[in-house]
């Protein structure tokens, strides 16, 4: 790892001041992606601003929505009685990320801000019509993810919390890479009355995306059978050593079928 500075402020205001004073600084949440990246010398920030002291660890049922603080670790979401009651699919998603040591450290805000094309959380954010609350503005999920590892966040913005709309029903199913457990393809299906949202992670060259055709088919007939009729185009899907674009296209269909078939 290149030499760097480490600071740990006590509030988001202080964190924002710290990042400005560092030149090219990076916010450090759970560090489950950032620290391996630094160790591989793929990044060399002038400094790291550890936000674990900024009191951003919270879970609150707010009626129509479920609000989760940015520093909330995966294990806390997975084990939370509040999350399990409000949006069980979200607890299930968190319980399937990485391994238990990664879940003990990794955070929801870190995952969403990083927008790894194979991360699980971005699919939930998109399917559950979430709102990302940054320090100075709120951003709708549909406007937030702008490309692989890219988001609408500016360098001087920090996620404080994320509000998820409570669905009528929802489910998340992924096909994990056998080695890394990252999603080769993960599909989050959420039903809001007559409206159905389907978000796909792990597959798109531009990162997480909503599958419009799947959404419209499922909105008129919500069943695993109706998913079979959808033709999944492999254009724009990731092709790498783990799976071809065609294989991923097929996984999108299969994961959606499973998600719809086992939804509750």
């Amino acid at each position: 790892m290149y030499s760097t500075k480490y600071v740990k402020p006590n509030s988001t205001t202080e964190a924002l001041e710290a990042i400005k004073s560092l030149g090219e600084g990076k916010f450090l949440a759970g560090g489950m992606t950032l620290i391996p990246t630094l160790k591989q010398r793929l990044a060399s920030p002038d400094g790291l601003v550890d936000i674990s002291g900024c009191k951003l660890d919270s879970i609150a049922d707010e009626g129509e929505t479920l609000k989760i603080g940015a520093m909330t670790r995966h294990v806390s979401v997975a084990e939370s009685a509040v999350v399990k009651k409000a949006i069980p699919a979200l607890a299930k998603l968190a319980d399937g990320i990485g391994d238990r040591q990664v879940r003990n450290r990794g955070t929801i805000g870190g995952s969403v801000a990083n927008n790894d094309p194979s991360a699980c959380y971005p699919s939930a954010v998109l399917a559950l019509k979430a709102t990302i609350h940054a320090n100075n503005r709120s951003i709708a999920a549909d406007d937030f993810f702008t490309g692989m590892f890219e988001t609408a966040l500016e360098d001087d913005e920090i996620i404080e919390s994320i509000s998820f709309s409570k669905p009528t029903k929802a489910n998340y199913v992924k096909f994990p890479n056998p080695a890394s457990r990252y999603a080769m393809v993960g599909v989050f299906v959420a039903q809001f009355g007559d409206e159905v949202r389907v978000a796909v992670t792990g597959a798109g060259e531009g990162g997480v995306f909503r599958h419009q055709e799947m959404e419209s088919v499922l909105s008129s007939n919500f069943s695993a059978d109706s998913v079979s009729s959808v033709n999944i185009d492999s254009d724009g899907l990731i092709s790498d050593l783990h799976a071809s674009a065609e294989y991923r296209a097929n996984l999108i269909k299969e994961m959606t079928k499973r998600a719809v078939g086992q939804i509750h």
């Binding site: 760097t4 450090l28 391996p36 990485g98 238990r100 040591q101």
Partner: protein, 157 residues
């Protein structure tokens, strides 16, 4: 550089470290406790698992500075003098190791998962060991060891 203090196996340790020092290097190189191993150094293998404020974490993926003020237990901190921890005893009795390189991490992960869920099932053990890789044993004896360790720790399965 800067000074950090943390509790390591019950003892307060204060050292000057560079900001980019990893916690596992703090434990092994600065304090000299070499029971915590570095296998892959990429957060996959779990040989470096320790307990940080009671939860299992991979010490190769945390900066020492992030652990300022924390209460850390490593494999050296489990035994009570010459009396092994029940999980260590179980690994011994069930031959839950061959070369032993992954064992410290396996034991630390096992102790955490059983502490949280003492009536743990075999499936839960296998899932719980997801982040620990062993290249010798094929895992069978490790899983048997964790089961036996859980029974010694008061579990009913």
């Amino acid at each position: 550089m800067g000074e950090i203090s943390l509790k390591l196996n019950g003892k307060l340790e204060t050292r000057d470290v560079a900001d980019n020092t990893l916690l596992v290097d703090f434990i092994r190189e600065h304090v000299g406790l070499t029971g915590t191993h570095v296998g892959c150094d990429t957060s996959q293998c779990g040989a470096c698992v320790i307990h940080l404020d009671g939860v299992s974490v991979k010490a190769c993926t945390i900066l020492a500075k992030q652990a300022e003020g924390a209460d850390i237990t490593t494999i050296e901190g489990l035994a009570d003098g010459d009396a092994l921890h029940p999980m260590q005893e179980a690994f011994h009795e069930n031959h839950g190791l061959q070369c032993g390189f992954c064992t410290p991490g396996m034991v630390m992960s096992a102790v955490e998962m059983v502490t949280k869920n003492k009536d743990i099932s075999e499936d839960e053990i296998r899932e719980g060991l997801e982040g620990n890789i062993c290249r010798c044993t094929g895992y069978h004896n490790i899983v048997q060891s964790v089961k036996a360790g859980a029974a010694k720790m008061g579990g009913k399965n």
